[in-house]
């Protein structure tokens, strides 16, 4: 094939010039500190997200004004406003495919007899892959997210209450446990058995009749998967407390990506070989944890999560939107997540360096296809990570640009008019 230097020169070029450049670039970016933006700490009154919150504040008094109903104009145009405001509302709930439980909200009823029957039958002992779906209530999700977030960079854990329904596991409620160090010892739950028993007992007095159905914990910043310790804990749980579920939630990635980062898992019993490689969505995992992930990732499987909410929940959430749109507009993910992003870039640069050294090593020998595949995998994984990071960065920037367009361009027109 004329014209293309298909030999080692091009490979050499990519591997020895482009890749190092990319690695160096990533190192440069990772050397930034989050404080370099002065408006991050500009107005201490405007709090954390700099210009984002100033916008929020400007919108604050207006939102009280805008939400006020004692102006006659509002009442007059209320009918008109209903139509206009229902459009964004519908957009907002566009993909609402949850079963908005019907008016009797049956899912909240706890049928003691039916549950006991199901527990006695124990269909899961015959099929390790029996439970396939998890339904999480709106309240449970919110509680888990808030608890995980309140832990900051420390892992937190808690217990979930719920029931089973065929192949579904339903999580109705969760509560936090007063334990620490969930990532350093198996069965950290042992320390909290007393608390658990007391809590479940007192919950029964106020209509919370469900039993423990699983446990959840957080992996702040490093994704939703089960570490070696988690797998051992879950294996123990599935031996003695069946049916049991493990949920992992990542509050940092939730904020960074703008969507809830959560995963539900059940382990296979020891010695069981899963039928096929049902690998889930690819996740970026930091280098220091990737070994732990790789060793154990075949020992458990992920369940599909869906959410449900009651009719009252739905109504309240709709009304909440009337006040919440302000914070959606004024949130600034770049600032809130600056630390995390910098960490991700550092990690990415290390991965790229690894990929580079591997390619160089291989490149000096006469390469076989098998070797090529491995080094490509490293580079392609690193690329996937960088793509995800870039997308998140761009989303944050989009919000900033939108805010800039909306609120900062006012002066221009005034000055323009003054000059003409």
């Amino acid at each position: 094939m004329p014209g293309i230097c298909a030999d080692k020169d091009a490979t050499f070029c990519v591997r020895n010039r482009v890749l190092p450049f990319v690695t160096v670039l990533s190192k440069v970016i990772s050397g930034w500190s989050p404080e370099k933006y002065c408006f991050g700490k500009m107005s201490s009154e405007a709090q954390t997200s700099g210009d984002g919150n100033v916008v929020g504040e400007a919108a604050g008094p207006s939102s009280s004004l805008l939400a006020s109903e004692d102006s006659q104009v509002v009442e007059e145009s209320l009918e008109m406003s209903e139509d206009v405001s229902s459009i964004p509302l519908r957009n907002w709930e566009l993909e609402n495919m949850i079963e908005s439980v019907n008016s009797s909200d049956d899912i909240y009823k706890y049928d003691q007899k039916a549950q006991q029957d199901m527990l006695a039958a124990k269909p899961w002992t015959k099929d390790p892959h029996y439970f396939k779906y998890v339904k999480v209530s709106a309240l449970a999700l919110l509680k888990m997210v808030m608890h995980a977030r309140s832990g900051g960079n420390l892992e937190v854990m808690g217990l979930m209450l719920g029931k089973i329904d065929g192949e579904n596991m339903l999580v109705m409620d969760v509560f936090a446990l007063p334990v620490e160090g969930t990532e350093t010892r198996v069965n950290a739950q042992a320390a909290a058995y007393e608390y658990m028993a007391a809590y479940i007992d007192s919950a029964k007095h106020v209509g919370r009749l469900e039993n423990a159905i699983g446990w959840y914990h957080s992996h702040p910043g490093y994704g939703c998967w089960l570490s070696g310790i988690d797998v051992s804990t879950q294996l123990l749980n599935q031996q003695f407390q069946e049916p049991f579920l493990a949920i992992v939630i990542d509050p940092t990635r939730t904020i960074s990506a703008g969507k809830v980062n959560i995963g539900a898992f059940r382990t296979y019993p020891k010695g069981y070989k899963p039928p096929d490689d049902t690998s889930g969505e690819y996740q970026t995992i930091p280098l220091n944890k990737i070994e732990d992930f790789g060793v154990h990732c075949k020992q458990y499987y992920a369940l599909e999560i869906s959410y449900f909410k009651s009719a009252l929940d739905k109504r309240l959430l709709e009304s909440l939107w009337n006040k919440y749109w302000v914070s959606t507009l004024s949130s600034s993910s770049l600032l809130t997540n600056a630390d995390y992003m910098t960490g991700q870039i550092v990690d990415l640069s290390e991965k790229l360096e690894n990929a580079e050294t591997q390619l160089n090593r291989i490149g000096s020998m006469y390469s076989f296809d098998a070797h090529d595949k491995k080094s490509e995998d490293k580079l392609s994984k690193a690329t996937k990570d960088s793509k995800k990071l870039t997308i998140e960065g761009i989303h944050g920037l989009m919000s900033q640009v939108i805010k800039d367009q909306l609120f900062n361009k006012i002066n221009l027109r005034e000055i323009h008019e003054q000059n003409h």
Partner: protein, 323 residues
């Protein structure tokens, strides 16, 4: 602080107008609350869940009561979480089970070390005499608790929540506890907002068909539409006042004026510089992403090319190695 000093505005919903029979419960119209309340949506969801499951189990709606916990710094109370309370009802008199409360208090102190008991919540319509009674019982747990009332069956589309605190009024020579309405705002923690958003519009099927960018832009778009709509409302109001169709309300006009005057603050030079800096930083990150993507594509292409067209030379070299 303008939001807080106006209890007369309806941050509270329509349902709060006291009827003639309950007029003794609310303090006079001139009373202004002494604290401001920030409410987390989690509390609202908690109360809703409590009410829903009790209704599902008992078959008909029952009043629910519970405790509110959170932090208080000075005059600002932030209500972050809540739990249910047990009560017994005899002849319409509701008594809160104090032992239950103490066990629960011990429990939550273990997990949420820095949260305190701030008040209580109940469900139902406008506040009644029995609410005041319960409030007095709660006063034994903490001084000056606040009272949150959620109406799960309110017809209006606004948030059917009201917050009250108690004052001791002197009426007919005896000290009577009366309720004063407080204004509240919604606390906005980032993770909570995302959780609420997710729950409100989540779908069973993963949105693999929709690009991430369009999802993100959709939510931004919805908020902008709301903003636009609200500003249009304000504009109409001003026009109407100008044409003398509506009476002037100086307070509202002053607020609008203040709002317009805040905008130029955001155009400061320092801010522009920082915005550009941030823009450049994100662009650099994008550059990194694009470059690594490009180098990976190149690498793959070259390897594949090698497989196709280099076989002869590789084979020759191999034979050279092994022979």
């Amino acid at each position: 602080m303008e939001t807080e000093s106006r209890p007369g505005t309806s941050k509270e919903p329509v349902a709060v107008q006291p009827t003639a029979a309950d007029r003794s419960v609310m303090a006079g119209a001139g009373a202004i609350g002494s604290v401001t309340v920030k409410l987390h949506p989690l509390v609202i969801m908690n109360i809703s869940d409590h009410w829903t499951r009790l209704r599902a189990q008992e078959g008909k709606p029952k009043p629910v009561f519970g405790a509110l916990i959170g932090k208080q710094t000075g005059r600002i109370m932030e209500i972050m979480n809540s739990f249910e309370l047990q009560y017994t009802e005899e002849n319409g008199v509701i008594t809160i089970n104090t032992t239950y409360y103490y066990t629960k208090e011990e429990q939550f102190k273990q997990v949420f070390k820095d949260l305190d008991f701030l008040g209580w919540y109940g469900s139902g319509g406008p506040p009644t005499e029995s609410d005041v009674q319960i409030h007095q019982q709660i006063c034994t747990f903490t001084e000056s608790p606040i009272f949150l009332k959620l109406n799960p069956q309110a017809p209006s589309t606004d948030l059917p929540l009201s917050v009250y605190e108690s004052v001791i009024d002197v009426a007919d020579g005896t000290a009577v506890t009366r309720l004063v309405a407080l204004s509240y705002t919604l606390a906005t923690e980032e993770a909570e907002r995302i959780g609420v958003d997710h729950v409100a519009r989540v779908s069973n099927v993963s949105s693999a068909t929709e690009s991430l960018a369009s999802e993100h832009l959709n939510s931004q778009h919805s908020s902008i539409v709301m903003l636009h709509h609200r500003i249009k409302l304000l504009l109409e109001y001003i026009n109407a006042v100008k044409e003398d169709k509506l009476p002037r309300d100086h307070e509202i006009l002053r607020l609008i004026h203040a709002l317009c005057h805040r905008l130029p603050v955001l155009g400061s030079h320092q801010l522009k510089e920082d915005l550009h800096d941030q823009y450049n930083d994100v662009m650099l990150m994008t550059y990194l992403g694009v470059m690594s993507k490009g180098s990976q594509t190149m690498n793959q292409f070259i390897s594949k090319f090698n497989v196709l067209y280099d076989r002869q030379s590789a084979a020759r070299r191999l034979r050279g190695l092994f022979m």
